[in-house]
């Protein structure tokens, strides 16, 4: 299917994938598995209390001192409209770098790093996922697992994270 | 015990270079930015085995410093070398008259400086 191929190409282009596959750090949000391009991940740290930022939407948990750098923390559950839960000992912050900005994502728990072949990545279906698909790059298949691959650029520019977004909005 | 050298110069670059050369050669270095500071260091308990001083300095110039040092009983016989750009003899004469041991003419390289220092400071 030509359409499918071009969609995949476009997808890979967006994600900067030049090889046939890519590695993703996967994590748990509720029942679902999400993945971010491993190249985007700076570190994973346990959840520590953050400082709330005045007058910001609820999904922006606050800011954290990461070795002297002020890093905003986004709660993905809230961002994706999922119910909030009590934080557990598995709750972690995935620190990612997007367009030279650092931010932290609060997730329920991290899972594995998975290799996902390019041909196993499909565009996200318009419905079915709990998440607004516009934040997804596609759905990847690794073995019997399905992973929702996050579009980090979109995530950063959406929802009150940057100045340009606020002005554009 | 390493020998202590008091290095007096208002130019930090010059001071650093002299100090660096001396400490690389195993001397202990005390620095001062002008004559007044140098006198202060000596009064504060520094007993140099050698003084290396510039002549043109604010607050207290080199010649006055040499005179001051020679007045101190403890440093009466301590070698004093002056750093001078002056090719003319007047400055050297003035310095010697004040009690300077010798001189190092700028510009000098570390080897030249150490050669002069060896002259006056017994190993």
């Amino acid at each position: 299917m030509a359409e499918q191929d071009s969609a995949n190409k476009e997808l890979n282009h967006q994600m900067g994938i030049s090889t046939d596959g890519s590695q993703f750090l996967t994590f748990q949000l509720g029942e679902e598995l999400y993945g971010v391009d491993i190249l985007r991940v700076q570190e994973i740290k346990g959840y520590t209390a953050v400082t709330r930022i005045p007058n910001t939407p609820p999904h922006i948990k606050g800011v954290l001192n990461l070795r002297g750098t002020i890093v905003p923390i986004v709660e993905l559950r809230t961002k994706f409209g999922m119910p909030t839960i009590e934080y557990t000992m598995f709750t972690v912050i995935v620190v990612v770098v997007v367009k030279e900005k650092i931010m932290g994502l609060v997730v329920d728990a991290v899972s594995d790093v998975l290799d996902i072949d390019k041909k196993d990545i499909q565009p996200a279906p318009q419905f079915g996922a709990q998440v607004d698909v516009s934040f997804l790059n596609g759905i990847g298949k690794a073995g019997d697992k399905l992973v929702a691959l996050l579009d980090m650029d979109r995530l950063l520019t959406d929802g009150d994270m940057t100045e340009s977004e606020r002005i554009a909005a | 015990m390493p020998k202590t050298v008091l290095v007096v110069d208002d130019s930090p670059t010059m001071r650093q270079m002299v100090a660096f050369t001396l400490s690389s050669a195993g001397y202990q270095v005390v620095e001062a930015g002008n004559g007044k500071e140098a006198v202060g260091k000596v009064n504060g308990g520094t007993k140099p085995d050698l003084v290396v001083t510039d002549l043109n300095m604010p607050e207290m110039d080199g010649i006055s410093l040499i005179k001051e040092i020679r007045k101190m009983p403890a440093l009466k016989f301590t070698p004093i070398l002056m750093l001078t750009t002056e090719a003319s003899d007047d400055k050297k004469k003035a310095g010697q008259a004040a009690g300077a041991t010798g001189w190092i003419v700028k510009p000098f390289n570390p080897e030249q400086m150490m050669a002069v220092i060896k002259k006056v400071l017994p190993a």
Binding site: P54, N65, G68, E163 | M14, T85, N109, K119, V120
Partner: protein, 706 residues
């Protein structure tokens, strides 16, 4: 020993910049205070240090040129010459040339030889009494080697009596000779010894005859006695052991000078003096018209072209020693804490847990403070950026035919080095603009009933988490009509547009906008003001204009303190901690019930000694959960910004501390009412209040995000 001093080059360049500034400032002040000997000494010392240091690194062009400047300065200093506008002009031009030479030395580029020699010639001509030029001999001619020749020197030496008083020791001389060859003391001369009664133990009465066998040249042997030669009786006789004819010199015919000295026609020092006056080949050739200056310059350029390639500049920073001392003290404390901890660790029992926790807390404090102080090292006073303006204004007054008095203030205001470096150009442009457009000609000023001399004032100060720099003139002010007409003509605005004054003034920042009647060398070229605005905005700052026709114009640059450190008051609202810049706090009060009024449409007001101030509950503005909602139980901070006052209500004042401002924009975006973030004592993040922003929020309603 192979000690490489080249890594001190950066220090040299850094220090030279300071000397250049000192010289420039000094020269400018000299015009007002021509007789100030301290000032002259200061200028002289600056030049002298550059000369001495540049020689050390082999920057011959720099040291030679500085030497010429120094000679003129020396004559001024010794009152052999008087300070005139011409001399000052020449010295200032020479200073520019020297700057260029140093830059060339830094980059490895070839200097403008023509300018250097032209100015050099003028400097020399400037000196009174036609003192002959001494060239600083930097490179010594290589000594020809006759390594294999074995010499047998007989040295008869009667040292000066003062030997000991100059820190010299005869044993040291003998030892030094011993390092050159085999030494034998042939005889001891005690003839000068006085009787015991007259004997002063601090004098040297002895003399020696020494035999030295060595391969070294006579010169080397003589050099041993360099420091005492003038006052010693010294003869050195050389008897080459290989049987060659006895001679005090090495082989080859004697140089003329040597013969003249030996025959007593001239003294050694006279000879040295004459030798030191020898000119360079190039100079001689030019004098003899064998070659033109250009040809020589060309050849010299070729010579210098072979110099090493351009070196990348490593930025460095000069730090106030007080800051370093504080850091050293802190490191000392850190070391103590560390040793207390390891001591505790070596014999730890659970009962000592509180002690352990306390020491760990201390370690945290130490570390944190060190971190803050290290950040503070980047902070430098803005005076560094201001220092170029006295000179600039002097030049501008000359060019524009205006009389300008420059006033600088707030030079001690500290801001980040990178910010200082980036504001230089925009500031220069504003000052140029004020000198050229802002201020009137002396005739116009007199006609307008103003003093002939116009004023440009540069000021810097901290305000509300920002640094403000103002460039103010007392000139004609902006011309509303002219700007409007120009704006319409350029199609920037429509004729029908209704614009506020502020909007009109901002038009001058539009690209291509210029109202100057004539294009001058200085400004009015239609470039610049837009660049100023762009540069300042690039730094996250703003530019604003205040102007009154006939009275003058003030440009205000407001810059964020991205890395700056401020004194802050830490306050608490519920569980949250905020920092209020100390500079904006006038006082803190606990109001009585009757002081508080609520006025419909205006909100709450508080009466502070007869003046009603708006009362702002921080928890309202920031949507926090407070502990206290009753103003009479809480604390009101009276804050001021840009002349406006407001009472901000918080639960409690926690204390006062220096905080390092960290950017929120780096990883996030600007938050209305927040000037930046900082790391608090416990490692968490606290926000620094922006009073201006708070006022905006309270006026426009909460800036709730989508």
């Amino acid at each position: 020993m192979s000690t490489d001093l080249s890594h001190f080059k950066d220090a040299f360049f850094e220090e030279s910049q300071e000397h250049l500034t000192t010289i420039e400032e000094g020269l400018l002040q000299l015009e007002q205070r021509p007789g100030d000997i301290d000032l002259l000494n200061r200028i002289f010392r600056g030049a002298h240090s550059i000369k001495g240091n540049s020689g050390m690194f082999g920057f011959t062009a720099v040291s030679q040129f500085t030497h010429k400047m120094e000679s003129v300065l020396d004559q001024l200093r010794s009152s052999q010459m008087v300070v005139t506008v011409e001399v000052t002009d020449l010295l200032l031009q020479s200073l520019d040339c020297l700057k260029a030479l140093i830059d060339c030395a830094k980059s490895g580029e070839a200097p403008n030889d023509e300018l250097v020699s032209a100015l050099g010639a003028r400097l020399e001509a400037c000196q009174n009494g036609a003192t002959p030029t001494k060239t600083v001999a930097v490179t010594a001619a290589p000594v020809p080697s006759h390594a294999t020749q074995e010499h047998h020197y007989t040295i008869t030496w009667g040292p000066p009596q003062y030997l000991f008083q100059r820190g010299l020791d005869p044993a040291q001389f003998i030892k030094e000779l011993g390092e050159l060859g085999r030494v034998k003391i042939a005889s001891l001369d005690t003839s000068r010894l006085p009787g015991l009664k007259e004997l002063d133990p601090e004098q040297c009465y002895l003399g020696w005859t020494l035999e030295v066998e060595t391969v070294k040249e006579l010169k080397v042997i003589e050099a041993v006695f360099d420091f005492v030669r003038d006052d010693s009786t010294l003869t050195i006789v050389d008897r080459p052991t290989s049987g060659a004819p006895a001679s005090a010199m090495s082989d080859g015919p004697k140089p003329l000078g040597e013969i003249l000295v030996e025959s007593g026609i001239v003294s050694q020092s006279e000879l040295n003096q004459a030798l030191s006056q020898q000119k360079r080949v190039g100079e001689i050739l030019v004098e003899q018209k064998a070659a033109t200056l250009e040809q020589i310059s060309e050849a010299l350029k070729k010579q210098s072209d072979n110099a090493p390639a351009k070196k990348a500049e490593t930025p460095s920073i000069r730090v106030d020693t007080v800051k370093i001392d504080r850091l050293i003290n802190l490191v000392g404390e850190l070391v103590i804490t560390q040793s207390m901890l390891s001591d505790l660790g070596s014999r730890f029992e659970m009962s000592q847990l509180p002690v352990l926790l306390e020491r760990v807390a201390q370690l945290e404090r130490n570390t944190r403070e060190i971190q803050e102080r290290v950040m503070g090292i980047r902070m430098v006073p803005i005076g560094n950026a201001f220092s170029r303006f006295p000179r600039l204004v002097r030049d501008l007054s000359g060019k524009a035919g205006k009389k300008i008095h420059l006033i600088l203030s707030g030079e001690e205001t500290e801001l980040d080095k990178t910010v200082i470096e980036s504001i230089g150009d925009p500031l220069t442009h504003l000052v140029r603009n004020s000198a050229d457009h802002g201020l009137e000609t002396p005739a116009e000023r007199l006609a307008a009933g103003k003093p002939e001399q116009g004023i440009i004032r540069l000021n810097a100060f901290h305000e509300g988490g920002n640094i403000c720099i103002t460039v103010e003139d007392d000139g004609r002010g902006l011309n509303r009509e002219k700007i409007l007409a120009k704006g319409v003509k350029q199609g920037l605005i429509a004729e029908s547009d209704k614009l506020s004054d502020e909007q009109i003034w901002m038009l001058i920042f539009k690209p291509g906008f210029s109202t100057a009647d004539k294009v001058t060398d200085v400004s009015g070229r239609g470039v610049g003001m837009d660049v100023v605005k762009r540069n300042i905005e690039g730094l996250g700052g703003t530019v604003s204009i205040k102007t009154t026709a006939g009275k003058g114009t003030t440009f205000t640059l407001k810059l964020p303190l991205t890395l700056a450190i401020i004194e802050g008051m830490t306050v608490r609202v519920g569980k949250d901690t905020y920092i209020v810049p100390l500079l904006s706090i006038l006082e803190s009060i606990q109001p009585k019930r009757e002081m508080i009024k609520t006025i419909v449409g205006k909100g709450e007001l508080v009466n502070v000694r007869g003046i009603y101030l708006p009362l702002m509950r921080l928890y309202d503005v920031f949507r926090l959960e407070p502990e206290l909602s009753d103003p009479t139980k809480a604390i009101l901070l009276i804050l001021e910004t840009e002349g406006e006052r407001v009472a901000v209500m918080v639960d409690e004042i926690l204390g006062q501390q220096q905080v390092v401002i960290k950017s929120m924009e780096q990883n996030f975006r600007k938050i209305e009412g927040v000037a930046g973030a900082t790391i608090l004592g416990d490692g968490t993040v606290g926000f620094i209040l922006d009073v201006r922003g708070l006022l905006n929020i309270s006026r426009n309603g909460t800036a709730q995000a989508a």
